[in-house]
Assembly symmetry: C2
Homo-oligomer: 266 residues x 2
């Protein structure tokens, strides 16, 4: 199996390559696109380089899966250009990542391109216990291992997003139809008032109001607010679900951490 790795948001360092490649040894051929190491201000190279790298790898029929290298910020700057340039080979492919690349996962799923999944990325190797996250991703990419999957996944179609990324898909052409889906959400390092504001926008969307329900992943590393926000993350999520009439289905085993499980869309 050949797995192409590109960085639509921020760059990675060489240590990620050596450590992740060692874990993939004998299981899969990892094809690290050189774009992953470019640097242009905030980004892993200019928009054009990030877009072209992703288009090249997605349209390469010798590559079986596209693995997004890491998050950060930048996917929304290239999504229009990428999505319109994908050919037949891009449809017969798996795409895996989360956080900022969720913009691309949403757009791919909205167009019905490929098999899309929310799950660990190569840069997760740097987390505490990051090897387990990377091996979990490889187990799923290479063997389709059920042990890699978010455990609540069942008969209803599912989708998973970082909350701020999902909020920024609202009202754009890249938000997939989430009617009837179990929608899983997670967040990291955002003030709770911001997550509250994002949820206010998210739950107003008609297709999200018609979701089968919502599951809450980890909302972690919330900065202290002054004054204190006055509610805990789960109460915030439950409140917006109740206001919008969306069933709150409990927790989801996803988040910006090494325990982050794989959620295939659909």
């Amino acid at each position: 199996m050949r797995i192409g790795i590109v960085a639509p948001s921020c760059r990675i360092d060489e240590d990620v390559v050596s450590r992740v490649s060692a874990l993939a040894e004998g299981r899969a051929e990892l094809v690290w696109h050189l774009q992953c190491f470019l640097s242009d201000g905030h980004f892993a190279g200019p928009d054009s380089a990030r877009a072209e790298a992703l288009i090249e790898v997605a349209n390469d029929a010798t590559i079986d899966a596209v693995w997004f290298a890491r998050g950060g910020y930048g996917a929304c700057r290239i999504v229009d250009r990428v999505i319109d340039a994908l050919g037949p080979a891009a449809r017969d492919k798996t795409y895996l990542g989360y956080s900022d690349p969720g913009t691309l996962l949403g757009a791919l799923y909205a167009r019905g391109i490929g098999r899309v999944a929310h799950g660990p990325m190569p840069a997760d190797i740097r987390r505490d216990g990051g090897e387990t996250a990377v091996v979990r991703a490889l187990d799923w990419l290479v063997d389709g291992s059920p042990a890699s999957l978010e455990p609540s996944l069942g008969e209803a179609p599912a989708a998973a997003f970082n909350i701020v990324i999902l909020a920024h898909l609202i009202g754009t052409g890249h938000l997939p139809d989430l009617v009837g889906h179990v929608l899983m959400i997670e967040e990291v390092a955002e003030y709770l008032y911001r997550t509250d504001r994002d949820l206010a926008q998210i739950v107003q969307h008609p297709s999200i109001r018609a979701a089968a329900g919502l599951r809450m992943g980890r909302i972690s590393h919330v900065p202290d607010n002054d004054p204190d926000f006055g509610a805990q993350p789960e109460a915030v999520v439950r409140d917006w679900c109740a206001r919008a009439g969306i069933p709150f289905l409990g927790s989801a085993d996803i988040g910006h951490d090494a325990d982050n499980k794989v959620v295939p869309f659909g």
Copy 2:
């Protein structure tokens, strides 16, 4: 003239009352709703208290204008409840504020309720030179002074928003139709990558793509990014305008500062 003051977001302190009331002495009667001084976690009282105070003042035929006391966060939590409860007296009224209460200005303008304007609030008294901002607001509220107005205002209808607030109106029922408008935007204390992400969402909206053009107010107190974002605020705004085919019309004299001018919507 009677001006009702409510706080749909965060609370104010008593010093704001005494200092602003002194400036209004002999010009207007300021009616400070006690809700302004409530405290509930992040907010100036619970959602119900903030919503009911605004509804009460807006529906009071003896009040000529509603002046939002300050920003912060919270208006989007009450906008649905407020907007559906406004009666005939609310239509014959002026509404003034900016920042977080921009959610309410947008919703009011979307429904054609009252005369809506983006401009200084009582809490601006605490800024350096804040008296000039408050007097500018009073000059406009009491006398309709043209000197208070943003100087580029001309024949095209206008609207003004804080960028993150406008981004969170996208895809909701409270975004007004901005076709043919000069849209003025401003921001404070946001990382530039976040403003970039907000603009990506904003310029995708069809009615904003059909705006007469966009003017950039101050984008101030931008925190340092690591790595540096790689572009200045004006370049970011110009880039998104160019991508979306929205004319960039230059600067607007608005922002989170004492120079913030009044922009009546429409």
